[in-house]
């Protein structure tokens, strides 16, 4: 594409990212080539500057290593006390994240980003603490050395010969808001080292001396400088993209790294991460579980999981798929996700297997359009026996109940017995066939060990009973040795094949069992109507599938976590703190995760499409069983099913209550309108008939006309009473839907005056509204009613000829105050509030008509508009009623454009 417009999706992503960033704290990293360059010092001086500018700075952790200058820098800064953590009868000090979150400073100093926390802390790594601090909106200063960066870790290890195990994912470094490179030339560093200004741990002193060789230091410095330069380069690119300076749209050639079960998988992942970073493209990491690979040892499975985890930490999207043909799955996945490049590890060349085609070749052959990149794996270590394909040793595999061995021996015996009479009839070769048949039978029926035994027994029996000289193990003809060898080989191969097939069948049936468990659970869940039922179902299935006790903790309507749903007989004690953490962060916590792995309980958040629905806590009796990838996947699916069911149950409730509400509202409305129709129709007829009396022939007399007129008047008054009563009922039952529109106040004042003009005819009414009053949002009919009621009241309670003023002004708190005031006798003192009550009137015994609903209706209407109404005495005598309406954001009406148009027109 050549147009310079940024891709809308990317723009959206960026906006989201910016929003996310705005809420997050800022991370500033002081980055150095090696220990001793002065990162901590630089961080502390930056912090001191911040303190001078009035920032609230707190030291989370700073390692001064007893250096004088650094300690001097620490002085005067607030230091957060460290937490004591008991670890194997030692008391260790560790950073206290909860204290930091409670203290919530503006800026916190966290030295040594790569540090591993003591077991028992919330997170295993300090950078995870930092992430949590950042998401709590706290700014963080931290330090890191180049060798601790995940992708450079092995490179540094290669250069210096020392591999550090404490690493930080590059992601953390890359998303840091600022990176400050703390640089020191190698000679100066060596000088400082000589002066003893660089802290070295006592142990392994020699190794470290080796580390601080000039050559190493130069190389490390180069790495650090380059990494920083890359970052700056990225920033430049991003800037160009933000400003749309670039008109180049690279087609995104996404990467797919294939993770195998072998040793070098993490090397592949690291390489892929580096390549992806260089190309600035997202990447995926994929592990394919073929039936064979299901027999891997626990250790290997753990390694694969770790590798995938590593890939995830490095920013990859990871997936574990199963399929019988790895090549096919890879190609399909790549096609589905539009991944153009596939990275695979280079297979070891095996000269003794010339026909063997590497994985890369096979992928290439299957999909010629994919680019396949082969990367070197780690130098192949001597294959360790423990790495061999299966968990079980040969001896283990030979294990079988003694009955099987006995039966195997019996079958061999029977083969011998059956063949005995046939010896004279059949050729020896055919006899051998019958023995082979016996081996096959045994291997199908009794498994590996007995079958191996049968192979040997049969060869022995064949030799002893049939091969001349008979009844001796001696062999006269050498060619029978060949027969024995083939018989043995065929027997062993058959054994291996059949047992292999049986194993795969076992794997398949276990998989089927998992699927069936899921199916049964979803079937049960689909029938559940209450959270308690769901809790009971989930508990039952977690118990059978994972051998774990479990509990469900659900959210209430306000999205707060409640106590565990009570299921009779369950007795899992959960740590409510971890539950809350897992819920707040939406990630798993506890046993076997990154967060508080020491806990014996695993907490899985229940993520439904709309929101988190709660947390599933489970305590497995055998935590390792839960770590197997397929089990984890099963657990994830379980959690999701439960969450969806919970959401469904929730919405069933919502729907029911909504229907109920709608039904009752409808009933109320129809009742009210029926009443209003039934009451008004006779009144309307009364008014009309009173009027038509004057039209009767012969012409009625003056007295008759007078009677007709007062009938009409009384009917109209009755009508206004009915209106008041019905309006009050409507307002109180909440049946009134406000029809809010943006409109000028002036208009409704005008229509109210028109509506009451007969009542206020004897009074002097004046209206003063400010010119610059903005549009207000209100229901014109109802506010007209408020104004009419107030005007009618003013007319009713003041002698004819009194003044009535209507006014408005911008009030405080983004409201407009509107008032109606008169210069009449005023309000009874102390009754300013009471008159707004229903059936309350200023004077109890009065000839003035009305039931005292007018002001109560006014109050109900104004409050429905989020306003307030009150009465007070007017300055200089009289009553004053003030109500307020909120200002809001009126829509713009462009009247200027119209004027401009008119200029043209007049020409």
């Amino acid at each position: 594409m050549t147009d310079g417009r940024p891709d809308p999706d990317q723009l959206l992503d960026r906006i989201k990212e910016e929003e996310l960033r705005a809420a997050r704290g800022k991370l500033k990293i002081f980055f150095g080539a090696s220990a001793g360059v002065g990162k901590t010092y630089a961080m502390l001086s930056a912090a001191r500057q911040q303190v001078q500018q009035g920032t609230d700075v707190v030291i989370g952790v700073v390692e001064t290593h007893g250096r004088k200058e650094t300690e001097a820098m620490v002085e005067g800064l607030e230091c957060l006390p460290l937490k004591d953590i008991q670890y194997r009868d030692k008391l260790l000090k560790e950073f206290d994240i909860d204290a930091a979150l409670v203290r919530k400073p503006a800026l916190i100093l966290m030295d040594e980003l790569a540090h591993s926390n003591v077991q028992g802390s919330r997170h295993p790594k300090r950078w995870q603490d930092v992430e949590e601090l950042l998401s709590a909106g706290i700014d963080v200063y931290s330090t890191i050395n180049v060798q601790h960066l995940e992708t450079l870790n092995d490179v540094v290890g290669g250069i210096t010969g020392i591999r550090v195990w404490e690493t930080v994912p590059d992601r953390v470094f890359d998303v840091a808001d600022e990176v400050v490179l703390v640089d020191l030339p190698p000679d100066e560093l060596l000088q400082r080292l000589k002066e003893g200004k660089v802290y070295l741990p006592r142990q392994a002193e020699r190794a470290i001396q080796n580390f601080f060789r000039k050559g190493n230091l130069i190389a490390l410095r180069e790495l650090a400088l380059r990494r920083t330069a890359d970052r700056v380069d990225n920033q430049m690119l991003k800037y160009r993209r933000d400003q749309s300076v670039s008109n180049v749209w690279q087609t995104r050639e996404l990467l797919l790294a294939c993770v195998g079960p072998g040793e070098g998988a993490d090397r592949i992942v690291r390489s892929a991460a580096r390549i992806a970073a260089r190309l600035d493209v997202p990447w995926h990491a994929l592990y394919i579980e073929t039936p064979e690979l299901q027999r891997l040892s626990e250790r290997q499975r753990q390694r694969i999981l770790k590798t995938l985890k590593l890939a995830q930490d490095m920013g990859a999207e990871t997936a574990t798929l199963s399929g019988s043909d790895a090549v096919e799955v890879v190609v399909e996945y790549a096609r589905d996700h539009n991944l153009a490049r596939v990275i695979v590890g280079r297979d070891h060349v095996r000269s003794w297997r010339p026909w063997y085609r590497s994985f890369a070749d096979r992928v290439g052959k299957r999909a010629p359009d994919l680019e396949v990149i082969q990367v070197a794996r780690e130098e192949s270590h001597a294959r360790r026996p423990a790495d061999d394909h299966t968990d079980e040793s040969w001896l283990d595999r030979l294990k079988a109940p003694w009955q099987s061995y006995a039966m195997s021996a019996v079958i061999c015996g029977m083969a011998t017995v059956i063949t005995a009479p046939l010896h004279s009839v059949f050729d020896l070769a055919n006899i051998a066939m019958l023995f082979l048949l016996a081996v096959v039978l045994v291997s199908v029926r009794y498994g590996f060990g007995p079958s191996i035994m049968a192979s040997f027994l049969n060869v022995a029996a064949f030799d002893f009973f049939y091969v001349p000289p008979r009844f001796s193990f001696a062999v006269s003809d050498v060619q029978y040795l060949m027969t024995f060898a083939v018989m043995l080989a065929v027997g062993l191969i058959t054994t291996r094949l059949t047992t292999g097939l049986k194993y795969q069948a076992g794997v398949a049936s276990r998989r089927e069992q998992r699927v069936r468990a899921l199916y049964e659970m979803s079937r049960d869940l689909s029938g559940a109507l209450m959270p308690e039922q769901i809790a009971e179902i989930s508990e039952r299935f977690v118990e059978t599938e994972f051998g774990a006790k479990s509990a469900l903790l659900l959210t209430d309507e306000k999205d707060r976590l409640g106590a565990a749903v009570h299921v009779p007989g369950s007795s899992l004690s959960v740590d409510i703190g971890i539950v809350q953490w897992a819920f707040d962060h939406g990630t798993e916590a506890g046993c076997g995760t990154d967060t508080l792995p020491g806990s014996s309980v695993l907490y899985v958040p229940l993520r439904a499409p709309m929101r988190l629905r709660g947390v599933l806590a489970l305590e497995p009796r055998n935590p390792r069983r839960l770590m197997a990838p397929e089990q984890r996947r099963l657990l994830d699916t379980f959690a999701r099913l439960i969450a969806i069911s919970l959401e469904r149950v929730h919405y069933v409730d919502v729907a029911q209550s909504t229907t109920l509400q709608m039904e009752s509202e409808r009933l109320r409305n129809s009742l009210l309108s029926a009443i209003s129709h039934d009451l008004r129709t006779p009144l309307a007829a009364l008014v009309g008939l009173a009027d038509s009396m004057s039209m009767t022939r012969p012409q009625p007399t003056g007295q008759q006309l007078e009677i007709a007129a007062s009938m009409r008047e009384e009917a109209l008054r009755m009508n206004s009473l009915v209106n008041n009563l019905l309006d009050m009922a409507r307002l109180q039952s909440g049946a009134v839907k406000l029809n809010r529109q943006w409109q000028p106040l002036e208009e409704v004042v005008g229509s109210a005056l028109k509506a009451v003009h007969t009542t206020v005819a004897g009074h002097r009414v004046s209206v003063k509204l400010p010119e610059d009053l903005p549009l207000l949002e209100f229901d014109a009919v109802l506010i007209e009613r408020v104004l009419s009621n107030l005007l009618e009241n003013a007319a009713k309670y003041t002698p004819p000829g009194s003044r009535i003023d209507i006014g408005a002004a911008l009030g405080n708190r983004a409201h407009v105050d509107i008032w109606v005031e008169d210069d009449g006798p005023g309000l009874p003192v102390g009754k300013e509030e009471e008159i707004f009550k229903k059936f309350e009137r200023g004077q109890k015994e009065s000839t003035t008509p009305g039931v005292g609903l007018g002001l109560a209706i006014c109050r109900a209407i104004v409050e429905a508009h989020a306003g307030k109404i009150h009465a007070e005495s007017r300055n200089g005598g009289g009553a004053r009623f003030v109500f307020s309406l909120p200002l809001g954001n009126p829509p713009l009406v462009n009247t200027g454009e119209d004027d401009a148009e008119s200029e043209d027109l007049r020409k």
Binding site: R680, V687, L689, D691, M695, P744, E746, K754, V781
Partner: protein, 231 residues
């Protein structure tokens, strides 16, 4: 009188009210036919060649609004709607469908007759002169030359204000809903921006009315729309 009596059809299911309306109209010199349902109303309207229809909105066999739509398909005679209070939405619906005016129950004979007279007068005038100069209050509007004068002085109106005024003048005494005004003055794409009408109506009143807060000519029908009263 050589001129034929104006024919009015009253469609109302309440016999008492029907009787009163009929009596009032006959006293005014109209020929009145009654109907108590939408069905009967349509038959009467089709056969009696009426000059006006007075219609109750709540009829037993159907919605009055449907009647208006049916009638408007072939006739433009004035329709006055009778309705109960607190049902502004019904009134707006009826007016948008093509009704010209409404009366809120209970109403007196005087109110009814004033409306009937105004609409009959409008109808007879529309058939007759093609007058392009209109006067009301202190205002004189020359539709042909597009000139507006106030007490003899030229009055500057913006194009929208002028279109608004012209549309109001051409529908005297009728209730015009916000939607109708938007559609005819601003165009169909603005049908939901009712605050436009209100703001420009305010501006127009300032130029035309003596006291814009108590207007005499451009009268607000709260929650429904506006009515232009020429005298």
């Amino acid at each position: 009188m050589s001129e034929p009596l104006p024919v009015v059809i009253v469609i109302e299911d309440e016999p008492k009210i029907r009787r009163f309306v009929k009596m009032s109209l006959e006293a005014e010199g109209c020929e009145v036919y009654e109907a108590d349902s939408v069905q009967r109303g349509l038959i009467e309207a089709g056969t009696r060649r009426p000059d006006m229809v007075v219609l109750d909105l709540g009829l037993p066999d159907g919605d009055g609004v449907d009647f208006i739509r049916d009638l408007r398909a072939w006739s433009d005679i004035p329709i006055i709607v009778l309705s109960a209070r607190t049902t502004e939405a019904d009134k707006v619906g009826a007016l948008d469908a093509g009704a010209d005016d409404y009366l809120t129950k209970p109403f007196g004979a005087a109110e009814l007759l004033a409306r009937v007279r105004a609409h009959l007068r409008r109808r007879s005038r529309a058939g007759g002169s093609g007058a392009t100069v209109l006067e009301f209050g202190k205002i004189r509007v020359d539709l042909g030359r597009r000139i507006v004068e106030r007490e003899g002085q030229p009055l500057h109106l913006t194009p929208i204000e002028y279109r608004l005024l012209a549309y109001l003048i051409s529908h005297p005494d009728s209730v015009l809903t916000h939607r109708q005004l938007l559609k005819n003055v601003w165009g169909p794409s603005h049908a939901d921006d009712s605050h436009y009408v209100r703001v420009f109506m305010g501006l127009l009143r300032k130029k035309i009315e003596d006291d814009p807060s108590q207007p005499k000519h451009i009268v607000t029908e709260a929650g429904v729309g506006y009515r232009f009263v020429p005298q």
